[in-house]
Structures are given as structure tokens and as C-alpha cells.
Amino acid sequence: MATTDLRSLLDPASLAIADQAIAEVGTDRRTLPVAFPSLPRRVGRERCGTTRVHIDGADVDLAGFRTCDVAAAVVLRATAATDAECLDLWSHGDLDERVMLLRSLHFLPVGPLTVQLFGEVQRTNVVSHLEAAVGDGDLFARTAGRFGFDQAAANRLLLKVAFLDVPLARLFHAERTANAELSRMLQDLATEREAAGRPVWRDTWRLIGRAPCPGSLARLLGGIEHGDDGVRLAAAEGLLAAGRTEFAALAAERLPRESRPAIRALLQQLSARR
């Protein structure tokens, strides 16, 4: 994965605009709430790229970031915006300004601000804000266990991710935070959804395999017979992660009836664990 510099993601014209804002804020910090919302108009909202890169310790997918998001991060970093200033931008920002601020978090030091805004995202239920805060990067994983973002808080946020059907793959390395209590929460949500005839978050099967709780193994086994390709794939991955050997025969039994190559490959690994 390439390593790059945040400022290099901006073209010269956009960088000049960001530098002008930095200079203005440097002279008078009261101009930050004026400069910040004008960034989308001035630098645009185009996507920054399509690649996954490392930027100062952050692992991000540029496909999720817009030019104005990067410009916002450049400004907030260069001006050493305080938590209070950032919270002020959040409190009085419109939906799009809040997206910029949340995207900027990926490039700011993880700290109490990160955790507080995770809490806001958890509370407000706005999908674009949840995606901006924890999607397309490893911010969730980098924050887990720090600054009061304990397992219970992380579990609640991941449950919200499941509730709003945001793919786990967008939260880089979040699977490392799997734990039995999270599995119980996800399974309870799955049961509610099934009772209501609604689809279940596919990544449920991936995560419960990593940290099974009562009921997980039965759900995983059922998953490899599910009619949805995505569920079968996630269930096979979950079973592999569970590291159990007693299901090899069941995997072998499923194998001849499985048409998807990716799932077949996983079932072959499982069946080899006799």
C-alpha cells in the first residue's frame, strides 16, 4: 500500500485555497467557522481517488474522501484546531460540513474528540455521518480501547453499523474487535430481523465466527446452506475463523452443491480439517 502526504492529495489551486484559509485562521481564529463551510464551494466535492493509501498512520480508501474533506483536514491540522473548535463546527454545521469534519478525523490524532464524535454519530443515526466517521479507513480500529472508547462503546457502534447495513469491509480491521458480547448483540438483532421478515446484516456471520457465543455455531452452520450467496460466503469465513474441526464433514457434504468458487475454496479448507 502506498504511503502519501495529505497535502499532496490536493491540486495546486485547492492547496492554495486551503493555505489561504490556514493563514486567515492563523491571524484570527474566529474565522474558522467562516472558512470551513466555504471549502466545498471553493475546492469542490470530487472524489480524491480510488486507491487505498497510508497517510501519517491512517489507512484509508480514497474513494470515500472528497477534495473538500481533504482540504478540511489540511486546514484543521495546520491550524491545530482544538477539540472545542471542532465541536463548535459540529454543533453548528450542516449535514455536509459534519461529513467534512468526520472525514477529517481520520487524519487528526486519535483522542477524546474522536470518541465524542463517535458518540454523536451513534446518537444521530445519519448514515452518511456513520460512513464518514468509521467507513473507508481504520479509524474505528485505531480508536478501539483508547480514550474511553471501551469494548462496550465499540460494540454499540458496531451494532449501529449492522443496524444501518454498512458493510464491515469499510471499517478496516474492525473484525479484530470481535468478542462474545458483540456476537450476542448481533445475533439478537438477527433474530429480530428474521422474525420481522427482514434481511440480516451479512457480516454477522463473519463476526460471530471470530468470537462465538451460545447459538453462534448453529447459526454459522445454517449460514452455509443459506440461499443468499453473500451470507454463505460470510458463514464459511466465520466457520473458518471459529477454528473448529468438528464441522469438516458438514463442509464436505455442502461442497458438491456449492456453485460459487470463492465459497467452494473456503469449504475445501474447512473439510480438510478432519
Partner: protein, 293 residues
């Protein structure tokens, strides 16, 4: 025919109004910041209201495919209130810098006091700094004199006249404004101000150049359907559809497009109505489906 409603206070209106307006062709609304029926006693009340205009109200409108824009300002009534006037002026630059805020207003005169003039002039200066158009509320009492005073304040400021919309006009004020180069707004009310028939007469006599019509619907007896109703009356009176379209769609867009934050192309499609989205955790969905409108 698409309609841009250039002056309506949706904050004071119910959801049914959004639905009826959407069904009648209203694609976008402009909500000027105004008074709230009773005096606000502290800055925080203004700040929360401004946040509502750029947040919750925008969300409500989008549920019906309606684009929501606003103007920000200290209204003339509360310009007289020393508990809040200076503080409100101090927070306006941040709110006037936001996308979706396409002008400053409604500012102007009401009781025509010296304080009203001071704060009107200060806000025009802000408009000059930010390159924004200005929506001017003109007095309901002693109107002709107040109208002329508003014009004098604008002229003294040096703000180009084409960036000024003098609102709540009537048969008398159009005689003053038609040659000034500014824009004229006409608020069509069920009982007071203007009515559709009088508006038809004005259009037949003066045409539609630099002219907009609005409902100015708010807390009181008013009707958010007044722009569609007026469009129907104009058509029945034989006004060409192209002229009516200019009056109710192209003109308000042209005026507020001077902010650089609004284009007709933006409005080609209805505002995004995503029923999965909430605002601050709230949706107020009651089973309505804007996608089926």
C-alpha cells in the same frame, strides 16, 4: 410548471403544506430568517433557529423532494431589541458562509426606527463582503415612506441594485422600484398585502422583469399555495406560459443565483428524498412516501 417559492417560513408550517406544494410543482423554497411570533431574549434562541434552518428544515423539505434554501439575518423587529441585536450580528458571518444560504434577509425596516436603520446598513455591509444578495422586508405601516427609506439606505451602501430584492411590494411601490434596477417581490396573501387578481393586473401593466411572487406564508392567516394559485390566475388572464415561468421559476433562481451557491441545473431533479436518512436521529416519518409523489 416548476415553481421556486422565494419567501416562505416553513418553520411555522405543517408537513401537509410541503406535500401540497410538492404536488403543485414547487421544486424549491427560500426561507428567510425572521421573527418567531414573540421576542427572543438571548442569542442562543437565534443560534438554535439558524441551525434549524440549515438542518432540520432542509431535511423536512427533502422528504418531499423540495430543495430548501434560506437567507440569514436579523429581522427589523428584533433589531430594536438590545438584548440580542449586537450578538446576532456577530454570529451572522458564519451562517452566511454556509452552502444553501443564498442571501442575507429578511432585513429592512418595520417601525422605521434609527436602530433598524443601523442594523440594516450593517447587514448590507456583510452582504457586500460576502458577495450575497439581500432580501429586504419593507414596512407594512407607512409603507411608501419606509420603501423610499430602504432604497436610500441601499443606495448609500453602494450595494449594486441588482443584488437587492425589495419585498412585500404593491401597486404603489412598483412605480418606485421599476426603474431602480432592483428586484420587486410581491407577497400574495388571502386577505391582506396582495391578492392574485391584483397581481395579475400588475403583471399585465408592468410585465415580469426583475419581479417575483411569494406566499410569505408564516404563523398567521396565509396560504403556501399562493404562488401556484397566482400562476393559474395569470394563465387564465392570458399571460403567456413563458412569462409565468419566468416569474415563478427563472426569476427567483436568477436573483438568488447571484450568491454563487445556486444554479438552475442543481434543481433539475427533485431534492434527494432518502427515507433511510434521519436528521439528528429524527425522521418524523409517518408512513408517507415522497418517492410516490
Amino acid at each position: 410548471m416548476l415553481i421556486f417559492e422565494p419567501h416562505i417560513h416553513m418553520y411555522s408550517r405543517v408537513t401537509d403544506d410541503y406535500e401540497r406544494m410538492s404536488l403543485a410543482g414547487v421544486r424549491a423554497v427560500l426561507e428567510p430568517a425572521f421573527w418567531l411570533g414573540q421576542p427572543r431574549t438571548q442569542l442562543g434562541s437565534f443560534v438554535d433557529y439558524f441551525d434549524t434552518l440549515i438542518g432540520w428544515e432542509r431535511h423536512r423539505a427533502q422528504q418531499f423532494g423540495i430543495w430548501h434554501f434560506c437567507t440569514m439575518g436579523l429581522n427589523p423587529r428584533e433589531a430594536n431589541d438590545d438584548r440580542v441585536n449586537k450578538d446576532v450580528l456577530s454570529v451572522l458571518p458564519r451562517y452566511c458562509s454556509k452552502d444553501g444560504v443564498v442571501g442575507i434577509g429578511e432585513i429592512g425596516l418595520d417601525d422605521q426606527t434609527p436602530k433598524e436603520e443601523t442594523f440594516m446598513a450593517a447587514q448590507i455591509e456583510l452582504a457586500k463582503q460576502l458577495g450575497l444578495p439581500v432580501l429586504v422586508h419593507t414596512p407594512h405601516r407607512d409603507k411608501k415612506k419606509g420603501f423610499e427609506r430602504c432604497i436610500a439606505i441601499v443606495k448609500a451602501s453602494g450595494l449594486p441594485m441588482e443584488r437587492v430584492l425589495l419585498d412585500h411590494g404593491n401597486e404603489e411601490t412598483i412605480k418606485i422600484t421599476r426603474d431602480l434596477g432592483c428586484w420587486s417581490g410581491f407577497s400574495i396573501y388571502p386577505n391582506t398585502k396582495m391578492d392574485p387578481a391584483r397581481m395579475v393586473a400588475i403583471v399585465l401593466e408592468y410585465g415580469v422583469e426583475r419581479m417575483v411572487v411569494n406566499s410569505a406564508a408564516d404563523w398567521g392567516v396565509s396560504d403556501p399555495m399562493m404562488v401556484p394559485r397566482t400562476a393559474v390566475k395569470l394563465e387564465q388572464a392570458g399571460v403567456p406560459r413563458s412569462k409565468i415561468e419566468q416569474l415563478v421559476w427563472k426569476n427567483p433562481i436568477a436573483f438568488f443565483a447571484q450568491s454563487g451557491r445556486l444554479t438552475e441545473a442543481m434543481l433539475a431533479k427533485p431534492a434527494r428524498a432518502n427515507l433511510r436518512e434521519t436528521f439528528d436521529g429524527n425522521s418524523v416519518l409517518r408512513g408517507q412516501d415522497p418517492d410516490k409523489l
